[in-house]
Point group: D2
Chain length 341, copies 4
């Protein structure tokens, strides 16, 4: 046994953790050494799938094992800052699921720690790695559709998350909207200066949490571009994730995906599959490519696609969108002192 795979630890074995665990196992550039989870059984079960991998319930063995070069953080958001701080100090490269934190100052502090110890910190907005979105981004930035005028994204979840998850989700703006906010900034290359939100809670259980399940966010950008973000906690017809960009010379769209291409046609009509069930199916390549990007970052080949500035601005905009929703009025977005990226 002698490959150059980078030893890595997975922190958090929940639903997104399992996605990353599978991808680490399938990626010959990485070697899974630890799975850390508060549920020892789960940790050991995943660890058993890889050679030379341990399932543990504490971060310490990882921090103390100098052979481990990188960690992938998939815990609930609240635990991110402490893990990042400790891992940075221990010299591990860090990929952390989005958002780094709901609080801008904590995001800044995490990046400061990473910078202090010279370790890369990659925030996991996987949609930037989705082949369809990447192709749309290329079409837009290449000028194929002319001057951008409208950007519209749709993120409608499937299945409805559990109430247990929703309670720790950071509410719909940070949990779902942050992805779309990131996409809007990435596509336009601009920071919005104002946000207006209309939102409803049709699901009584969600209403009770003072959260919303149906959201329409409007963003205004300095160039005149207008963006619209459509969020829902339920898409009965499958996970619904789309982008559409209107330019003065054309339009670019990324449509949904279906598991099969099979069409059954009868006198009732033409029936095809519901869309992919949920995020692991929809973003199967995106997660794999994100991980590959992380390896490139670890090896110093490229800078992280998502910068400190990106991570903090997404959080600031999500916060402003929620504020607009509560006030029922547009909110100017205050980015504070800008960062040098």
């Amino acid at each position: 046994m002698s490959n150059a795979a980078i030893p890595v630890a997975l922190i958090g074995g929940g639903r997104i953790g399992q996605v990353h665990a599978s991808n680490i196992l399938a990626n010959p550039r990485l070697s899974l050494r630890y799975v850390v989870d508060i549920d020892e059984k789960a940790a050991k079960a995943w660890a058993a799938k890889a050679p030379n991998c341990e399932g543990v319930t504490s971060l310490d063995p990882v921090l103390n094992d100098a052979s481990v070069k990188a960690i992938v953080v998939c815990t609930p958001t609240a635990a991110h800052p402490e893990i990042i701080t400790k891992a940075a100090k221990a010299g591990k490269a860090i990929m952390c699921e989005k958002p780094i934190s709901l609080i801008t100052s904590e995001i800044d502090e995490c990046y400061a720690q990473a910078a202090k110890y010279g370790v890369p910190l990659l925030c996991g907005y996987q949609r930037r790695h989705d082949p369809s979105f990447v192709k749309l981004h290329e079409a837009v930035t290449s000028g194929a559709i002319g001057q951008v005028q409208i950007v519209k994204t749709i993120s409608r979840d499937n299945p409805v998350p559990t109430i247990a998850y929703l309670k720790i989700s950071g509410r719909i703006f940070h949990d779902c909207g942050s992805h779309d906010i990131d996409l809007c900034r990435w596509i336009t290359g601009e920071d919005p200066y104002e946000v207006y939100t209309a939102a409803s809670a049709f699901n009584p259980a969600i209403k009770e949490l003072n959260d919303w399940d149906t959201v329409l966010i409007t963003l205004k950008f300095p160039s005149g571009v207008i963006a619209s973000i459509d969020l829902s906690r339920k898409a009965a017809y499958g996970y619904d994730q789309r982008i559409e960009v209107l330019g003065n010379a054309g339009m670019a769209q990324a449509e949904n995906r279906q598991p099969t291409t099979t069409i059954v046609s009868t006198d009732k009509g033409l029936l095809t599959d519901p869309f992919c069930w949920s995020f692991p199916q929809r973003y199967v390549e995106a997660y794999a490519r994100e991980l590959d990007h992380f390896v490139d970052v670890i090896q110093g080949k490229v800078a992280p696609k998502l910068s400190h500035d990106d991570a903090r601005k997404v959080a600031i905009i999500a916060e402003a969108a929620e504020e607009s929703c509560m006030k029922g009025a547009p909110v100017k977005i205050d980015y504070g002192n800008s960062l040098k990226n």
Copy 2:
């Protein structure tokens, strides 16, 4: 020769007038007797295509010809009220292109005149007759997608209208947005209580007219439904007219149409037609069916699909959307005294 075709006059031979003229000629239930236009040559040219049809430059011959039972009004909006008032007095059934007027009190007065003389007045929002939109409406109202949560419409024009037209168009909210506002009320069966608009003018010539070419309207409805209307004066890839409705059990969409179904596939990809060029192509069946509906109304078989209440509320909402755009803030919608329909 002895058919029961209803003698009808066309008032206004511009681009939409020509659409209606062709449909009148092709509809065996109607017989075109007059084409009225200030351009005598144009009036006579159209008249020459039908048997027993005269091209004239004044409304008077139509009003004085008792055999004429109905008129189709396709003049600029400003001329509508006078024509409607005179035609009602002369006992003619009236189909009038939208909007009846930009001013709510004038709309009310037109309907009052029609009521006084007992003639039907049908306002021409042709999209309610489009087969795809009708089918979407049926799907939504049948409960096929459950409780409605989000309604989104797109109306992007092609080609960019002339500046001459834009000057008399009543601006984008009344000219384009009114159609979509009507669709949102029709689909939801509700009146929105608040509107917020974000708008830009990328085209300098449009900016100079204090008009906008890129608009995103958000409407809030009492049930919690949120609607989004996306307007643009330019869709380089063909006339873009779509509706999407999200319910808690599914989604209904009406997509664009392409002139042909031909696909040319090479190593560059799969290439299909741009969408239908403009409204006469896109709404070819809608205009024909609207006219047929008008004949049904004349014959007393059905009530007009679009009521006085519909026509005035659309105008009120369009006005509020424009007000929101100028203020940069949401605007509560005041419908005044409600009508009995």
Copy 3:
């Protein structure tokens, strides 16, 4: 009243006759003067829809009315030669539904009569006028897909024709297959030299007529091109009419059409319309354009798109395809003495 519309008579008021009657009425370049049908009631009913139109049961009034310049023949095939011969002698331009005749010598005689009296004879293969097929033809002949290698057509009928119709239809090869044979020659610009047919009769009523409902024809062309024609009497999911051409640089396809663009998506999948119901819906523009082409031919602007050579070769190939089916072996196609076109 004074338009230059060409006075025309419709011969045969059956299902295809009604399609042409509607198009004549809607076409300002034509004026319907007679509807001839053995069913006097039907003839008079159609005639009543047009000004100055008579419903009659004999061809004679048409032949004797010098003002009538053209006829459109929609009778059963067996009656074509006599009508064409008489009309040619009377100097009328002739559009005749396909096929002119099932017997090659009769086809030749009809064209000879038309030539003798100097009247145009247009055989009605409407698919050459379908916008999607025309666009496919342009793509192929422009070289966009390189050297043609495979041509495949599908013609699956809906609804299943009545047994009464099937009895006089000339069987599936002449009735349905002739259209596809014409398309294959038109697209390739070549005459096939050999044909092989496999056919089944799943429907017992069709089997009893010694006809088939399911046919696969293979044609070999001198250049090496291979064509496949797929015929069926039943497409439960709507009228199915497609063409696909493979070239060494790409592929051109013309797909089916659906009445609406509406999509209803639920957890069962995405449901869209069945395809257009039948030929009048599918070929609505094709029939209108064919008629317009006929007017151009009458006015001497263009030669008929379908020549004598085309009409006779289609009949010869259809006959050979049926022969192959009966023999269970490939059949060399003998075109006899070639024509000068």
Copy 4:
């Protein structure tokens, strides 16, 4: 390290071998122990990607290593029988790329050896594991489209294989057509009794090999079902793999796949991706699922989806299709003594 992964050896590291190698590495139920290839460098390079894996140039170490429970055979077809015979004797479970052999008696002998030593032998027709084809198969066999009447498959290759490969490919009928023949039998549940083939060689290099690049095969089945197989060595627009089944109550189709869902729309039209580049992209899930099926077979959970009878009949039909092509006439298919499955 202690997982229950089954130790496996890969025999042949060419293009299909690499597909299987990746899937073995990504499948936690399997553990790659040997890569055998005549090219030592290639063997060692692949072996380096897995822990505890050796790259060797001879089969012997595999046969002699009792810990190895299974082999995946990806060598040129000619080498299959010897490898299978030796591996069976050594007690290894065998998955062998299609076809087992071009010669029916050799196929029979291979299965006889496997039976003698009690090892499973799975022939790798991966398309039976493709999710879209599986879904189509379910729709057809569930009766959703009624009585099957027509089955059509398309297999058009991309890129054009190298001449070196074509020389050892067994010609287009065995190399490509065998997949489609297998699909037709699988979908219909019947054995065809007659085959007719039309074929051309447009590519001069292929013509020189006495092979064909463009093939249309017609199969007749006892029930009256007709099947059509369309083979081409070149699909410039991407790997083209489709199935269409017509029943008397509907149609089932499996369409091609595109790498992304991105649409770029301009005044030139709507442009989407070419189809997936080639078989590794198109059948990515199919290969993974096939391997999983092999593990199930090894573990005795299921019988191989593809039986001895399937493997030999596919070879017999492919042979008859080639014979028909050379004769230019239909050929009755002789299956010899039938097998007990």
